[in-house]
């Protein structure tokens, strides 16, 4: 029970007054960020990333800034439901599925039921995922410790392949997005040879790789704001909710009775979807909604205000956000755009993400994991207690929120990079993201690729150096790496899964062509 004692220590540290306060502030900010339409966990975490230096210098611990960022992430998962239910527009993309049934419930005059169900399901989803996380993370980190360059490159390939195979967006556009991220990461110097490269127009700003924050704030701050202004034309009407202790109790009872199925499906499914690099909380919640609708005995209620229909996506998005932390903490691969920002946070704090984190920095890892439990708990309390306050805040007009985000983005980039060049780059990225977004280009792959770009290139080149230029090192278990006839299975297994995922869209295309031809033939017979 080594893990349990480590976890108990971690929770005790997370319960120290300073950490508790940070957790509380983070959760409140997260709830707000999640509840405001147009702002999600990524935007919140990216724009507030520069504050980690301040938190680190005032608390003196590495864990406190991460606790803060993770608390924002959790809070945002809870907050998204509030505007989905009350305004009918999702507060964050992760809460899209919550509108399907949350909004009808609110229109029926049962808004408080939907809000309470969302909060409780989120809490249960988050807690179950935390238990999974605690159980899975240390063994996974142990396995990952034995990874060499070929294994890590195979993992990176897998991360990109999941985007292509499972992303669900236009594949060519997904690939372009990934490649833009990779190019941005390779600007400046060749890390192995030490030669300058891609220094466009000989500008000094291009003599180093483009900072992830610059791209993230450009895309998720400026670009997203422009896009939201472009797409939300009219104002929406807010539902009324009267909240009292008796009503909350009653609603909680209903949640247990009618929402247990959705909650359990969402909690389990969300976690495993969240682990996949391409997926994250948004597809996790959509899938959980679909599965609980498919398996429900009362299918016809879905879409008309089913409690299960609120519980499933809300449990799933919280569960998935914890799931996305698992590869981020153990392998150094972010499972979602938000965890990509968290990963950058780790790097900024001079911590090396990856399997060594668990063995070298237990005094960092376990308090952060402990804080997951705590912030989940704080979030459900704050959420239930402050529902009226959040309803009041939702009346803040977008015309005040939007300029604040623009201003914060500008100041945030400068504070983090000390360079006007990067502020300009952030602006152009934002504009470009807006133009690409209208044409359905997914931008999350670019954000992940710019984070993973350096390590992908390094591990590829070092592995090939090792194998004298043969790609067999990634795919052939009998490839003789050491000259002693040893076999290495991990890299080939991961590598081949990646190849299958990359080819998955092609299989689907062929199958669809076949199906179409057969349908055509049958139609001919009937005719």
């Amino acid at each position: 029970m080594d893990v349990l004692s480590l976890l108990a220590d971690g929770i005790l540290i997370a319960l120290e007054p300073a950490n508790l306060l940070i957790c509380f502030i983070g959760v409140v900010i997260g709830l707000f960020v999640g509840a405001m339409p147009g702002l999600g966990s990524v935007n919140g975490v990216a724009i507030l990333l520069p504050t980690i230096f301040f938190i680190k210098s005032s608390t003196g611990s590495d864990a406190a800034p991460m606790i803060f960022l993770a608390a924002i992430y959790y809070g945002a998962m809870y907050g998204g439901a509030i505007s989905s239910i009350m305004l009918g527009i999702p507060g964050a993309s992760t809460a899209v599925a919550t509108t399907f049934d949350g909004r009808p419930l609110a229109l029926k005059g049962r808004a408080e039921q939907a809000l309470v169900t969302a909060a409780l399901a989120s809490f249960i989803g988050g807690t179950i995922a935390n238990i999974f996380f605690t159980g899975f993370a240390p063994p996974l980190a142990d396995v990952a410790l034995r990874f060499g360059n070929p294994e890590i490159f195979a993992l990176m390939l897998l991360a990109f392949a999941t985007f292509v195979g499972l992303g669900g967006d236009d594949i060519a556009k997904t690939v372009i997005s990934i490649m833009i991220g990779l190019v941005c990461a390779s600007i400046g110097f060749d890390v192995i040879g030490g030669e300058p490269r891609l220094q466009f127009f000989d500008l000094a700003g291009f003599s180093r790789p483009i900072n992830f924050l610059v791209l993230a704030i450009g895309v998720y701050g400026v670009g997203e704001m422009l896009w939201t202004l472009h797409t939300t034309r009219g104002d929406s009407e807010m539902s009324k909710a009267e909240v009292s202790v008796a009503k909350i109790k009653n609603a909680a009872g209903n949640t247990v009775k009618e929402g247990w199925r959705g909650t359990s499906i969402g909690s389990a499914l969300g976690f495993f979807v969240g682990i996949l690099p391409a997926a994250g909380a948004t597809p996790g919640s959509l899938m959980a909604y679909g599965v609980s609708k498919m398996t429900s005995p009362k299918k016809e209620e879905f879409g008309k205000g089913s409690i299960d229909g609120v519980a499933a996506p809300e449990a799933a998005n919280n569960s998935a956000s914890t799931g996305a932390m698992l590869p981020m903490m153990t392998l150094g691969i972010p499972g979602s755009p938000t965890t990509a920002v968290l990963l950058t946070g780790l790097v900024l704090l001079d911590l090396e993400p990856g399997p060594r984190l668990f063995s070298d920095q237990p005094e960092f890892v376990w308090p952060v994991i402990g804080s997951f439990y705590i912030s989940n708990f704080i979030a459900v309390i704050v959420n239930l207690a402050f529902i009226p306050v959040f309803l009041w805040m939702l009346r803040m007009p977008f015309t005040i929120l939007a300029p604040i985000i623009f201003v914060l983005s500008t100041a945030g980039v400068y504070a983090a990079t000390d360079s006007m060049f990067d502020v300009w780059l952030m602006f152009w990225f934002g504009l470009g993201a807006f133009m690409l977004r209208i044409l359905d280009y997914p931008l999350a792959p670019a954000a992940l690729a710019i984070v993973l770009g350096k390590i992908t290139e390094e591990t590829l080149r070092q592995s090939l150096q090792w194998s004298d230029g043969s790609f067999g090192i990634f795919f052939n278990p009998f490839f003789d790496r050491t000259g002693q006839g040893e076999t290495f299975w991990i890299a080939p297994i991961i590598g081949w899964i990646a190849v299958v995922l990359l080819l998955l869209p092609l299989f689907n295309l062929i199958r669809r062509k076949f199906a179409a031809r057969r349908a055509g033939a049958e139609g001919h017979w009937q005719g």
Partner: protein
């Protein structure tokens, strides 16, 4: 939308070709021809230009796929008859994008905090129509908060504009703030919040 899809894909294809060209560049001291560095070296390992070059080859192929799909009307944007940017979208760019551009541009001259204040005033007063009192309060309090947070609390030196502005305003102000008790900073912060609440109440009063 179809034309825009094709134009954007062509632009991306050109970008990838340019980066391919650029990644083949050799420093003048090496004396090697262009594109000598995109393959495998004598040690069997890929050289410096390998990665960006082949990444851009994949990007070019993808861009061509997008173009072909758009020409054949296979992708959703190319099937849509809506304009790429309608009047509203262009309005967003002109009314919001250009002012953000100007804010970044002005930062080097009148300091980031004054540029912010102007932008906030413009946005809340002209786009948001929130009334003069609330707009002025917002555009005074928010930059002040950020100054206290970034420059004083986090000791990050954000751009202060030209010398005249830096010397006459920021240097004395910075000295004054740094001599203060940190508890007083909290008081100032709360005072700012009070101003904002008061301003929003004034507006509601006037509206009623």
């Amino acid at each position: 939308m179809r034309i825009a899809e094709i134009v954007m894909a062509i632009a991306l294809a050109c970008l990838s070709v340019y980066i391919m060209w650029k990644s083949g560049e050799r420093p003048s001291w090496s004396g090697e021809p262009r594109f000598a560095n995109i393959g495998f070296g004598d040690d069997g390992a890929p050289q410096g230009g390998f990665w960006p070059f082949w990444v851009c080859v994949i990007m070019l192929i993808s861009a061509i796929v997008v173009i072909v799909r758009a020409v054949l009307r296979l992708s959703p944007p190319s099937q849509s008859n809506e304009p790429y940017l309608d009047g509203h979208g262009i309005g967003v760019l002109i009314k919001v994008g250009v002012p953000v551009f100007l804010m970044v541009l002005l930062t080097d001259f009148i300091s980031i905090y004054f540029a912010m204040a102007l932008f906030l005033l413009y946005y809340t007063l002209f786009l948001g129509r929130h009334g003069l009192v609330l707009s002025l309060a917002l555009s005074a309090v928010l930059p002040a908060w950020m100054y206290m947070f970034f420059d004083i609390a986090m000791t990050r030196n954000l751009p202060k504009g030209v010398r005249a502005i830096e010397d006459t305003i920021y240097v004395p102000m910075g000295n004054w703030f740094r001599d203060l008790d940190s508890a007083l900073l909290g008081v100032f912060f709360l005072a700012g919040a009070a101003v904002l609440v008061a301003a929003s109440l004034v507006r509601r009063r006037l509206a009623a």
